[in-house]
Symmetry: C2
Subunit: 469 residues, 2 copies
Amino acid sequence: MATAARSSPSWHVLLDLAGRRGALHQRLTSALREAIRDGRLPLASALPPSRALATDLGVSRWTVARSYTQLAAEGYLEARTGSATLVRWAPDSAQRTRTHQLPPAERTPPRYDMTPGRPDLRAFPAARWVEAIRQAAATAPPDQLGYPDPDGSAVLRGVLAEYLDRARGAAAAASDITICLRAAEAMTRVCRALIADGVRSVAVEDPGWRPLGEIAAAAGLGVVPLPVDDQGLQVAHLRAHPEVGAVCVAASHQFPVGAVLSPGRRAALLGWAKDTGGLIVEDDYDAEFRYDRPAVSTLQGMAPGRVFLLGSVSKTLAPAVGIGWVASPPRLTSALRAATPFPLAPPTVHQLALAGLIESGAYDRHLRAARRRYRDRRRAVLDALASQLPGCQVTGAAAGLHVLLWLPGGTDAGQVAARAAQRGLLVTDLDRYRAEPDPDHPGLVLGYGNLADSVATEAISVLAGVIRS
Amino acid sequence: MATAARSSPSWHVLLDLAGRRGALHQRLTSALREAIRDGRLPLASALPPSRALATDLGVSRWTVARSYTQLAAEGYLEARTGSATLVRWAPDSAQRTRTHQLPPAERTPPRYDMTPGRPDLRAFPAARWVEAIRQAAATAPPDQLGYPDPDGSAVLRGVLAEYLDRARGAAAAASDITICLRAAEAMTRVCRALIADGVRSVAVEDPGWRPLGEIAAAAGLGVVPLPVDDQGLQVAHLRAHPEVGAVCVAASHQFPVGAVLSPGRRAALLGWAKDTGGLIVEDDYDAEFRYDRPAVSTLQGMAPGRVFLLGSVSKTLAPAVGIGWVASPPRLTSALRAATPFPLAPPTVHQLALAGLIESGAYDRHLRAARRRYRDRRRAVLDALASQLPGCQVTGAAAGLHVLLWLPGGTDAGQVAARAAQRGLLVTDLDRYRAEPDPDHPGLVLGYGNLADSVATEAISVLAGVIRS
C-alpha cells in the first residue's frame, strides 16, 4: 500500500537542507529522518527513485543513494532492488513529534544568600585554578588522562598526606588516603566499608548535617541520632546504644550548633572507640576556618586506626571543583576501595591541579585571605544581629561559615524562613537539621559564606523585619 | 606519676621548629603534637612551665602558652592552674608511630598499549580544553560555582540536545538529558530508574562490556546474558526470557564483536519493547568513530519513550574529563533523578567548558581529526595482522577503537595475553568479556586507540611471535 509520493512537488520544501551542518549526504539523511520521525513521511510511503530526487534537489544521485542506504541501515527505510524505497518505520504514539531543546530557565541568584555551607563563590580563585589546570594538563604524562586511578592520583594523595599532617594534625599515609567526588561519595564509600566490617548502626549528631545519616540509611545502616550541646556531641548517650558501631562527628566545628568538641568529650569518644572496637567518622568539613585561634586538630591524628577522616575543597575553593577525600584506618582501606565497583574519582587533571596549588603555597595563601574575609563578615553579621535583634541569642565558635540564631519561643522558624525567602533572603530553619522538629526551641541557621559584604547589614535588617512582623 | 621532664637538656632537639611551615606557635604546637604521638613524650610526662620552655627555645612565653592551650583543647595535654602541664594522651597500640607519606610508585606505561576502550591519550586536545575551561571559569556567573545542579548544567544539556540530534539522530529534549560522571554513573542511575519502574531483570550482550551487567547486578537486578553474532545482539533469544524488562545494547557498534545491529534486529528489538512495554538501554559508547560511512543513528531517536541513551566523552576526549550523560524516556526522567540522594555531577566548570567546545565547532573539528587518525591506525593494524597472522580471522565493522582477533582453536587466549604482557604488549582475552569462558572459540580484543602509530606494526609482530611460540 505504497502512497505515490513521487509526483509531490514539495520535496525541496519537505527536505530543507539549508541550516543543517555536515556534508550534503548527511544533511539529506537527517532531513529525511526528521520527516519520517515527525510523520510527514508516513509508514509505507514510497520515496522517489534516487535519480528523480537528485534532480529535484539539485544534488548528485550518489548523495541520494548514500542517504537511502544509511536510513535503510538504521531501519527507517527499506530499499528493494528494482522497486520503490519505502518508509518502514513510524513514530509510535508514545513519542513526541517535536524536540524542545530550550535549556530550562536560569535560576536567578537570591539577593541575600545566607544558605548554610556555601562558601564565597565570588572569591573563587578562578585565574589561579585555571593556571593550575593548565600546568597540570601541560605536564601530566598522557597516561594520566586515561581512566582515573580509582584510589585517586598518587601525586595528590602524597601532597594531601603532608597537608593533612601539617594543617590538620592528621596521621595518614598516602596509601590510606582515597580521593572521592566531594565528601558525599566519601561517605558512601565509608558506609560500605563499615558494613563490610560488621557495623550495623551509626550514630549521627542531632541537629547535624543530615546527608551523612541519609547516605548511611540509603546504604542500609541503622541511624541513631544523638543530642548535641555547647560542648559538641553528647558522647555519654552512646552508653544507651550498644548497637552503634560507628559515630559520625564534626569534632572541630559542629554543624549547625557551632560547638567545638570539648577535650573531655574527645577523650570519652576515643575511649568508647577503644573499649568497644567502635569506629569514628570525622567530618572535617570547614575546619580550615577558625578565626580566634588555630582549629583544633583532628581526632584522626590521635587514633588513625579507629577514625575515618572526611574532607573536601567544597568550602575552601568551591563545591564545583568536586574533590573530596577520606583517610581510612589502614586495615579498612582495601574494604573502602573494594566496596565500589566503579569508583567515581574526580577528573585526574583536577586532582593534579589541586596538588600543584597546595605544593606551590597558593592554597595556603588563598585560605589565609579567605579566613580574613570570613572573620570580618562574621563580625559584621554578629554586630548587625546584636543591634537589630538584641533579644535573640547567637551561638557558635568563631569559626566556619555560619551562625545559629535562636528565636523567641513560640516563633515558627519555618514561616520566618519562608517569609524571608519572599524578600530575597535565604536562611534555613534549624528544624531542617534535626531528626524531629522541636517547636519549643526554634532557630535559624545563617550562612555568611556567600553573602556579599555590602549587603550583610541589610540582610539582617530584612531578617529582623520579618521576625518582628 | 609525673616524670620530671623539666630538667631535660634536649627540648630544642626534641622540638625541632625548623623545617616546619606556619607561625611560630603553630610550629611549636605541631612539634609537641608529633613528640606526643610518636611516644617521645609519653603519657603523664610533665612539660616545663611555659616561661622555662620559652627561655630554652628562645621564643616568647606567649608562644608557648598558646601552644599548650591549643594542645589542651585537642586533648593531648592537660593544663592545671598552679601545677605542671601533663601529657594526657598516648598513641594506642593500633596506631603506627610513623606516617609514611611517600606516594606509591608511578605505573610505567606499557610499550604497546592495546587495552580496549582507551582513546588516543596523546591526542587529547589539552590546549583547547584548558582554553575552554578558562573561558568557562571567566564567564560563568559565581552562582555556577556552587554545588552543581544535580541534573547537570542547563547550558550543557541544551547544547547536548542539539548535538545528539545532529550527530546521533537522537530525539531528546534538554529537560530529559541528565549529566552524569561518565557512563558508569549514568548506568547506576538508569538501574535505579528501572527498578522504580518495576523492572526486575535486564538482558546484556554476551560477549559485551561487562560493567553494564555488573552495575545492574550491584543494583539488585537479575542479569540475563544474550548471545551476539555478526548482526549484533540476537534479539530473538528474548522470547525465551519473559522475565527480562530491559535490554542493554550497543546498537551502533557492539563491544567487543564490532557488529552493527542489523535493520531487522533493530526493528525486532523496538517491536519487543513496544509489545511488552520493555525498555532499552542503548550504550552509545564509541559511535562517533565510524570510518567507512556515517554511524547508524540511535535507536533512541526511533523510540525516545522506550530507550535510555548513554553517552560520554571518555572515548572522544579522554576518560579523565569524566563527563557522561543519559537521555531518558520522559516519563522516567524524574525517577532517574530522584533515585540518587547525592548525584555526582562532574564539576560545573568542566560542563560549561564542554558546552563551549561543542558550540564553537572545536569538538567537531577534533572528532574529524581523530576519525582520520584512527581510521589510518586501524588500517595499519589490519595490514599487519593480515601479513603476520594470515591464518587468524579478524571481525568488526570499520568503526570504534578495537578489533576482535580470533585465534586458532585450542589456543589459550589468556596465556597469550599474559605472555604478551611480559613483552610490554597489553591485549585482552575475549573470555574477559564473556559470561562464561568459551575455550573452543578463543579470541583477543585489540584496542588501537592508544597505540602509537610508530609501533603498530611492531606490536603485531610481538603478538604474532607470542601466538606462534
